[in-house]
């Protein structure tokens, strides 16, 4: 049995394989074998094709398992001044991050990193890096390329760089208050930057600067802005004042050519942006502006027809309102005409003009000029005006000479621009050629405007005028001084004043308004020991105009004497 079986197997193995298969399975078996072989070949071909495809496709999408949200930065449009000069732009800067799970030698890393970044909190750094569950931690964002290279050269594992967009302000502090600032993700936080987010829009991005639409063109003029900042800085030293502010406005369009507030701020320094001592005095604070308010009082009286320039007022006796007595600083001892009330800056005269008008009309006039309602510009909301609770006799008189009512300088400048430009209201704007400005509304008649132009010019050109130190030969400057005592504990402080000067030029056809404010100037040898605006703010405004008038293309001319009296 066994031998037969062996013999049979040997006999079968000596036959050729197909014949054996055929012998064993028949023709159908052969076909099935081929089918299986073909199937296998197809399968291998599929595997080979897939391998080839994977090998060829190259770049795999690496999926990083990061649980923490990766910060995105935003691409922002450039900001240019009215002449197309760059004020703010985006640049790529390396940001340092760490993957704590890859960091080796915690002490070594913190110590060596501390040598390059000495201002980094070592304890905090240690605490962050010791949390091995985290895979991504920002250590420092927006590092100067040179510093980044130094950190790179330390060769610390687990520390990496990522390029991010950061906002750069190449002009440092120039117009810092207006431009505002951005947050760590390059989103607008204040000023024009915030307005850009809200109106023009920004684009999220992961690095390279992209073309985010057209640059934003402001109405500011770099040259004018620098001139006013430079002169205010010099004035702060000259008169030992604690702060200064100034603006230049186009009286017809309300376009702001410059807006400066000192001490200034660098938008790229967050500590400066948040410093309360550096608030924007032009639109972030309200002040009792003093006698420059008399421009409005006289305009009101002339416009209502209750008084003319030659109407005589008896200003010899002080005005009383309840327990207050209002006197003139330099009493003339004789009745004065309305023109003289303006030129002598008589508080009593202004009070009388306001009383003659009545509280309702006085309020209505201030409302018409936009001084009673909150205002907004592209640089943010303007500090709301602080108004007296009611317009009684005392309030009427004090508001007439600029006390008891505090407004932001930009709001006051806009109101005065309306009186100077021929009588139409303007809205201050920082954008060039803004078309959505409301249609001009008339606030005072052209005659009133003309009379005020004459008075302002006389206040500078005549020897009795308080603003004579603001005169600049050839540029027909007009203006009004204001020295307002600052409110302190238990009343007004006599020695702490806000000295202001509101000027416009050229007065025969005013184009530009200049407002200069000096906060708490001291009586120095330069101001003959006085703190009056005629001694400090007026000459400062004169210096500003002498510098900016040629920049603004105002043609100097011999003085025009035929202005109305």
């Amino acid at each position: 049995m066994r031998g037969a079986a062996k013999g049979g197997r040997r006999a079968r193995s000596s036959e050729p394989a197909p014949a054996r298969a055929e012998a064993h399975y028949g023709p159908r078996g052969r076909f099935r074998t081929r089918l299986v072989m073909l199937g296998m070949a197809a399968l291998f071909a599929c595997v080979a094709a897939q391998l080839a495809r994977l090998a060829g496709s190259g770049g795999f999408e690496m999926v990083a398992a990061i649980t923490e949200p990766m910060a995105r930065s935003y691409a922002r449009p450039d900001i240019l001044d009215r002449g197309g000069r760059l004020l703010a732009t985006d640049i790529e800067m390396p940001s340092l991050f760490a993957d704590p799970s890859l960091v080796q030698g915690l002490d070594d890393v913190t110590e060596r990193l501390g040598t390059v970044l000495p201002d980094m909190d070592q304890g905090e750094l240690r605490r962050q890096l010791s949390d091995r569950n985290r895979r991504f931690i920002w250590l420092r964002r927006g590092i100067a390329p040179k510093l980044a290279q130094q950190i790179h050269d330390l060769g610390l594992p687990g520390l990496e760089f990522r390029d991010e967009l950061r906002r750069a302000y190449p002009l440092e502090r120039l117009a810092g208050h207006v431009l505002g600032s951005v947050n760590i993700d390059n989103r607008g936080a204040s000023g024009i930057e915030r307005t850009i987010d809200e109106t023009v829009g920004v684009e999220p991005t992961h690095g390279a600067p992209s073309n985010v639409g057209l640059p934003v063109r402001l109405s500011l003029d770099l040259g004018v802005q620098h001139a006013i900042e430079d002169e205010l800085k010099a004035a702060m030293v000259r008169y030992e004042s604690k702060g200064a502010a100034g603006l230049v406005m186009d009286v017809r369009t309300g376009e702001m050519l410059a807006s400066a507030s000192l001490p200034g701020l660098d938008p790229s320094q967050p500590s400066e942006v948040l410093d309360p001592a550096r608030i924007d005095k032009i639109q972030g604070g309200t002040y009792e502006l003093g006698s420059i308010f008399k421009i409005l009082t006289v305009a009101m009286a002339l416009d209502s027809g209750k008084a003319k320039l030659d109407t005589v007022l008896d200003v010899t006796k002080p005005l009383t309102a309840g327990r207050f007595t209002i006197k003139d600083l330099h009493a003339s001892g004789r009745p004065l005409t309305v023109s003289e009330v303006f030129l002598h800056s008589s508080n009593v005269g202004s009070g009388m003009l306001a009383l003659a008008e009545g509280p309702e009309r006085q309020k209505a006039f201030l409302e018409k000029l936009g001084l009673m309602a909150p205002m907004r510009t592209e640089a943010g909301p303007v500090a709301a005006p602080q108004l007296p609770p009611q317009f009684g006799r005392a309030e009427q008189i004090t508001v007439a000479y600029g006390h008891g009512m505090a407004v932001a300088p930009i709001q006051f400048a806009a109101a005065t621009a309306a009186i100077i430009n021929g009588g139409t209201r303007v809205t201050p704007t920082y954008f060039r050629g803004r078309s959505d400005a409301p249609a001009s509304t008339r606030v005072v008649s052209a005659e009133t405007s003309n009379s005020l132009r004459g008075l302002l010019r006389r206040n500078v050109s005549e020897p009795i005028g308080t603003g004579r130190r603001a005169d600049v030969p050839g540029y027909r400057v007009g203006g009004k001084t204001g020295t307002a005592e600052m409110p302190g504990r238990g009343g007004y402080m006599e020695k702490a004043v806000v000295a202001s000067f509101l000027a416009a030029f050229p007065m025969d056809d005013p184009k530009y308004l200049v407002l200069v404010l000096l906060f708490e100037p001291k009586g120095t040898s330069e101001s003959a020991g006085e703190v009056l605006a005629g001694r400090n703010a007026a000459p400062t405004a004169g210096r500003v105009i002498a510098r900016i008038a040629p920049l603004l293309g105002v043609k100097p001319a011999a003085d025009v004497a035929q202005l109305p009296n």
Binding site: G56, G58, I91, P170, L171, L174, A208, P556
Partner: protein, 96 residues
């Protein structure tokens, strides 16, 4: 084998090669495009830095002292005239 089967097989294989070739070319082109894009991004980033640097170097607080050192001053009314005098402008009159 049937000639139709052979030609179909040939067609299938050749179109597979063709498709492979096309997709290979496309990948090459895509790689080139992304390389160009990276280059453009880099150039844009460089331009942004250069623009910022130019603005920083041209900032008025730097230019002004340089201009003053050259003896330049703001224009005054004395430097302006309405009419050219009869004799015309004499050249070199502006020299200090």
């Amino acid at each position: 084998m049937h000639p139709l089967t052979v030609s179909a097989a040939f067609l299938a294989i050749s179109s597979a090669f063709l498709l492979y070739g096309l997709s290979y070319d496309t990948r090459q082109l895509e790689a080139r495009v992304s390389a160009q894009e990276r280059l453009a991004d880099k150039a844009r980033a460089d331009i942004a830095v250069l623009k910022a640097e130019r603005a920083h170097l041209g900032r008025p607080s730097r230019i002004e002292p340089l201009a003053r050192a050259q003896g330049l001053e703001p224009l005054t009314d004395k430097q302006m005239t309405d009419r050219v005098p009869d004799g015309g402008l004499s050249t070199g009159a502006i020299a200090r």
